[in-house]
Symmetry: C2
Subunit: 214 residues, 2 copies
């Protein structure tokens, strides 16, 4: 079975068409937008006919599912180092949010595809869920650490996890694929914005818990 053959391709006709298609799809979205993404186009670009992809993916939605699963795995890989950072639990939660926004900006191709569920096959959504749960677990852990460090808090950690995710995701969506995209084209300016917003919020919630205010 000449399955994966070698890494340098050149073997049969292509060598590793599956990964090449995924990479080309992400690249196409990155440079020309998601509306330019078609199986025929990326197949041609990779140097094969428009039907070759069907020997590696059941259909287009299966490709999209694979890209999304890869995107969530990649995201988890970007988030997890934040948990090892020095400082307080709030510092790490803030770093997580900034990393999330940064991921969206630097991996626009992945980010745009992963938030278009209509492109995926619902029957294969379990792949996405598995990969997404890993990222969710990281956020959840960081929020839980804030709760543990702050003592008794009248907030539900699950709800606050959704809130943390929502805030990071909202900033990413608005600035990378939304109406604020025109104003935040500089990655460091965007990072500063995300850091300010998230730090102000997380600090207010966890470093000044209720009962201490006026």
């Amino acid at each position: 079975m000449p399955k994966s053959s070698s890494t340098t391709s050149g073997h049969y006709h292509h060598g590793d068409l599956r990964h090449a298609l995924i990479a080309e799809a992400v690249r196409t979205v990155e440079t020309e937008g998601i509306e330019a993404l078609s199986l025929r186009r990326i197949s041609t670009r990779v140097g094969v006919s428009h039907a070759a992809a069907y020997h590696h993916f059941a259909d287009k939605s299966a490709l999209m599912t694979a890209i999304t699963a890869e995107a969530f795995t990649h995201l988890a890989g970007v988030l997890s180092p934040c948990l090892e950072l020095p400082g307080t639990a709030v510092d790490r939660l803030t770093a997580l949010g900034v990393a999330y926004v940064d991921f969206a900006y630097r991996n626009r191709g992945y980010f745009l595809v992963m938030w278009r569920p209509e492109l995926r096959d619902p029957a294969l959504e379990s792949e996405v869920i598995t990969a997404g749960d890993e990222a969710y677990g990281i956020i959840r852990g960081a929020v839980q650490a804030c709760h543990d460090q702050a003592g008794e808090l009248p907030y539900d950690p699950t709800e606050m996890t959704i809130g943390a995710w929502a805030m990071a995701h909202g900033i990413a969506q608005l600035t990378v694929d939304g109406p604020l995209a025109k104003w935040f084209t500089d990655p460091v300016a965007l990072s500063h914005l995300a850091r300010n917003i998230i730090d102000n919020t997380a600090t207010s919630i966890y470093a000044r818990p209720p009962g201490t205010g006026s």
Copy 2:
């Protein structure tokens, strides 16, 4: 010029094809998802030929732009009453966020289209910006009111406005078109979730300002 003729249609061939197409498009997205949206399909459904739409919209992206502008206007109409609510400025900001999430849930068709900028014609984006600025201004006003009521705060109101928008939008995206959609199919449960998250956050930031903590 038989422009708009009458409201009951029946006049010429259709009467008010433009609005009928917009309404049918939104309905189709609502019931079958955005991947099922095509000019030919909605044209057929409305009872005209597949090319009739081109006498009212330059192309498909122009239709999408019109839908998006209408969506933002509709959103502003849902948000603005929140500014008249009794209570504190924080109460009104929270109500704004809940209304935003509620809008997304109850107007899934509008919401899905308005956050897919690749479907629109960039040349017509000014229509969207005009309508979107109205919604942004409402959020901005509510945030500013919190700042005014809280006194001197070391936060930039513009950044916090983006934060407020991001949080509401993130909750909406995650629960209406994202990985949390399976868990929040009940509108009242979703409202409660949004209220808890947003109220905890807004109260932490604005009702317990820095300098009063431990």
